[in-house]
Symmetry: C2
Subunit: 157 residues, 2 copies
């Protein structure tokens, strides 16, 4: 086995461990948001996506494309968010098949609140335990890796 092949094997194994840990963290962070803000992890993701669009609104189809959620799932998630007063459905003036989803005032406020809570959680549990002098290198590592991971996504679907 060449040194390059060995490095490849190491990489596969290390990758697996990172995926496991990342998944677990994502799960726990989702639970934390749920407890501290009263909305599910997926609702938080959708709030962020909608916040990015401002009050232009966004079709459910577009939301489903950004998420790991089918269009049917988005319909029902938006149903629940609407019942909570976080979003509102409006008619799409340009396409009467579709409906545009927009944040309400309460939804925008909740997005801000949840983001604050989420960042605080990440900072407390993940960033602060890392020694200050290592943080810069860590940030670089993270950027490199998430770039590679993102490139791998389209190849896998």
């Amino acid at each position: 086995m060449t040194a390059e092949e060995a490095a490849g094997n190491d990489l596969v194994l290390a990758f697996g461990r990172l995926l496991g840990a990342a998944n677990r963290l994502e799960y726990l962070l989702g639970r934390a948001i749920e407890e501290q803000c009263g909305i599910s992890h997926l609702m938080y993701e959708v709030l962020l996506i909608l916040a990015r669009e401002g009050n232009r609104g966004m079709s459910m189809r577009a939301i489903s494309r950004e998420q790991v959620l089918t269009t049917g799932g988005v319909t029902r998630l938006i149903d629940r968010m609407e019942a909570l007063g976080l979003v509102e459905r409006t008619l799409d003036p340009g396409d009467r098949r579709g409906r545009l989803v927009r944040l309400t005032g309460a939804g925008a406020a909740k997005a801000v609140e949840a983001t604050r809570v989420h960042l605080e959680n990440v900072r407390r549990h993940f960033v602060e335990p890392i020694p200050v002098e290592h943080r810069k290198r860590f940030a670089e590592d993270l950027r490199t890796l998430s770039h590679s991971a993102r490139e791998a996504i389209p190849r896998l679907r």
Copy 2:
């Protein structure tokens, strides 16, 4: 803002992006196993855990402690795996409350097959696109990160 604080903020953001990408990859890799091997992602995880124990067997409680699954969930997952012939429940001679779960021959074979498929997927889609001369550094980065991520898990629960 000091340079260290800036590095901390970078870290929080980069971490979020990595989590998102990792989660997505885990999901896609799970779907790939499902399609190519006919078992769910969680079944694969359980097969790996049981393979580690050999034919000593393992209680469902112990399985639930290793997974993001409650004991009720494990009961039902094992139900399905038993129906597929991948595992068998035996009486625990030392504790008549519990039952030991063991791989069948078919289960062990499926564990090997699924692992081969999984590693092949990771290699093809994630490792191979990385230039050979960078793989060693990548493997180190991954190890560092998954170590930190694993340390963060207990703090979050």
